[in-house]
Each structure stands twice: as C-alpha cells, then as structure tokens.
Symmetry: C2
Subunit: 258 residues, 2 copies
C-alpha cells in the first residue's frame, strides 16, 4: 500500500444475509460472489474474521508497481484499473476489474503492477499472510484460486492477441464485446454499457491514443454499430457486427475475467 490511505472499515456485521450493493456486507458479498465459487459456512465465518472493507475515491491509488504485496482484494463495487508503466511515462492498462473480481492474486513479494480506482470503489481487503494461513486450513480454496488464476491467464493471452495483431476498430469492438459479456454475466442489460473509464484509459488498455479511440467511436456511430447519450454510456446497436469485427467466432466462449 502506498500513497493516500483510504478509510478502512472493520467488518462489524458477521451475519451472512443478502444485501444491496450500495450497502455491501463483506461476508455475504464474499459468499455471493460467483468468482469465489460456493464457499462453505465455516470458510465464510473464517473469511469474515480476516476481512476488512474499504472504500476508495475515483482516481485513488491502491498501490503502485513494486509496492510490497501485503494484501489481496475482492472488488465489491466500482471499477479498478491495473497498469504498468515505462520509465518515460508510457502506460499500458492490463485490465479493468469490476464487482466480484479478484485483485492481487499474484502470490509474489511485490505487486507487478499498479492499481487505481476508475470510479469510487468498495473492496474487501485480505491481509496476505492471513489469507495464506486460511488456505492452509481450507486447501480446496486453493484449487479455486488456481482456476481463477487460469482464467486471468487466458484473458491475458486474448489481450496479447488483441494488442499484437488487431486493428484499432477490431480492438475497440473487442473491448465493447468483452464489456458486454461481463454485463450479461452480471445479468445487467448487456446492450447498454457504462464506460466509467475515460478515453485515455481505453486507449492505454487497447494500445491506442485517445484520438484514435474517439475517431473509431465516431466511425462506429456513423456505421450504426453504437450510439451514445453521454460519452460514458454506450448502446450497442449491432452486436453481431461488433462480434464479427472483434474476431469472435460462433463457437467461442469469452474468457470470464477481463
């Protein structure tokens, strides 16, 4: 953890009950989060004992590359971006995290990337050594973490294909398609997407400049693929054309994590 330390709220309500996202209860959130799989009651109560919940403002830095990796997180709400930087300031965003995504799963001494809140976000924080102790107690959790890690690796490989071999239009279509799939998983309307990140974030995620992102959006609008009410809300009007552009074939399934 570096820079501005956000408010840390110890978990006070250990009772697992469904709660709305805007009043998240860490324990029940953990239980409900699909990414965690079905946790057993004793696992939940133990997780509950080690978790703290925190909320960070948009733009807040959670940690930067090279910081000691002292905690893992689950995103409860909001959007987090992960990024790597070159000495001269060029930046590559390696992923956006949303509700139910894991952060800091890399079991290494130091974080290999920085993490920053795109929008105001709420997270569960697990001190590293205590989560690892918990893993000793519940070895089956380890298998699930390995599975999550595998999914992230698959996503990373998809992203390499995108960055190395796709055109600007294909990149942007892939990005929209990915966001759409995630929205569908969360049972929100997959046709109507929020874009909490700004154009420079999208550009740095896709290996493009903000101007190219903007121009490509305009091109999509003119072709009837998408429409905008506000710059941060896009409607996908022709999902098939977008999927085609993205290089998605019928048989393909999207990697679950972004």
């Amino acid at each position: 953890m570096s820079t501005p330390t956000p408010k840390i709220t110890p978990l006070v309500d250990p009772v697992a009950r469904p709660g709305p996202v805007n009043n998240p209860c860490a324990a029940c959130a953990i239980r409900d989060l699909s990414v965690c799989g079905a946790l057993k009651p004793d696992e939940i109560s133990r997780l509950n004992a080690i978790v703290v919940q925190k909320t960070v403002n948009a733009g807040a830095t959670l940690f930067i590359e090279g910081d000691p990796a002292d905690a893992h997180y689950i995103v409860l709400d909001g959007c987090i971006k992960l990024y790597k930087m070159l000495p001269d300031g060029r930046r590559q965003i390696t992923g956006f995290l949303f509700r139910a995504d894991f952060l800091g799963l890399a079991f290494r001494q130091r974080y290999a990337y920085g993490a920053e809140a795109v929008s105001t976000a709420t997270l569960c924080r697990f001190p590293r050594e205590r989560l690892e102790a918990l893993l000793d107690e519940f070895p089956e959790m380890e298998r699930r973490l390995l599975s999550i890690s595998s999914s992230e690796l698959a996503s990373a490989q998809d992203q390499m294909l995108l960055l190395g071999r796709k055109t600007a239009a294909e990149k942007l279509a892939s990005f929209l398609w990915l966001l759409s799939k995630r929205a569908a998983l969360k049972e929100t309307d997959w046709r109507r997407l929020d874009l909490p990140m700004m154009r420079s974030d999208i550009g740095d995620y896709l290996g493009l400049t903000i101007e190219t992102v903007s121009r490509t959006f305009t091109q999509f609008k003119k072709s009837g693929l998408v429409s905008f009410t506000r710059p941060d809300a896009v409607q996908l009007d022709d999902i098939d054309a977008l999927a085609e552009l993205a290089g998605v074939e019928e048989s393909w399934q999207p990697s679950t994590a972004m």
Copy 2:
C-alpha cells in the same frame, strides 16, 4: 491432442538419478526442475507413476486452440511455442517454453491456445485427471502451481506492456534481454544466445513483421549491440544498451517465466 500423434514412451526407469538432458529420465528431471521447487521423495515416486515422456519433432503440433485440455506437460528439452490465431490467419505467439517450463497449467476444459514445437523437444506428459488426483494427495504442490501461475501472469502483463506501448527496437531488445536472463538462470552463457525460432515466430511474438525484425536486427548490428555468426545464434555485445532500450531499470527483476 489433435493432429500427428508423436511417439509416446512410457517411463521405464523409475529410479531417480541425475541424468544428462540428452538422455532425460522423467522422474529425475521432475525432481531437478527448479520450477517445481523441491519435491519430496514420495511426491516424486507418485509423479513417476503417472508421467509419460514423449519427443516431438520441430514443427509438430502438440495441440490446437479448443482441443480438450486432457494433459499437462513439463518441457524437458527443446523449445515450444504457444499461439493464438484470428479467423483470417493472423497469429500472436503468447510465449516460448524451454526446459523446466510448465505447459497447460490452465485448469480449464479446453486449451485456450495452440502449442507447437519450435525445435525437436522432449516433454513429460501428465494426464489431467491423474495430476489432479495427485494434487489432492499433496496439497502443497497446489501452492507451488499457484506460484507458477502467478509468475506466468506477471510475464503476460510484461508482454502486454511490450505489445501495446513499445517500439520495434524496444520490443526486440526486450526479447533479447528476456532470453538472456533465462540463459543466465540456466547457467548457460547469457551473452551467446540460440534463437531456435525463426523470424516469423519472433515477429508474431513481438507483434511485428519478419521484415521489421530483420531490419531491427541489422540496425542493432550496425550500432554494435549484437553480432551474428548464424541467423539463429546471436551474441549480445552491449547488454547495457539493450537493457536500456528494453526499458529495464536497475531495480527491476525479470519475471522468471517467459
């Protein structure tokens, strides 16, 4: 497993003893491979029982994207490339594997990428369900796999930075630097690198064309950064300049897996 099935040699020598790489003994190789960490004797004997060793020719396909993921592998010798393809044939190589590298760690139903031998290669093959049964027996192995998986994820993120934000010269310098670090780990001469892969493989790994790879090598030669005896053997004459180009800062440590 798809296409040309290579010779599969059941392991006949269960005695763990040091052996030369050109006459690999799967069990002792597993024990020696640093990536596995220190395996305990009973783990080795059990691994020994489920492993089969196989040798594939250069250019042979191990599996393609979408094949059922029915096995894991450890590379004992040679070089394997992993790749993803777009419908129109554009290709992105997501990694090269060398001795001691794991292959197929993704615990998913189907392989998310294809794998092909760059040079003649020898591998240990672990049927998926039997390795998973073994993991139940030795939960500590799972932690090590998670650690390996984390390293691969970190490498993938490095590669995203490379593909999205580096110039051709920086990409090629990063590639050489990475190979050099790997050679140093293996205690071979890190100044003198074999390039078993051809230019089109390097190009598809770095998101470049073969022409750009070739021109950049020429530029490096003219600047005194590298020299060639054969096209597949490069000598790094100015490792500092290469590291500088690659964007490697003093404090950085290379991610262990490529």
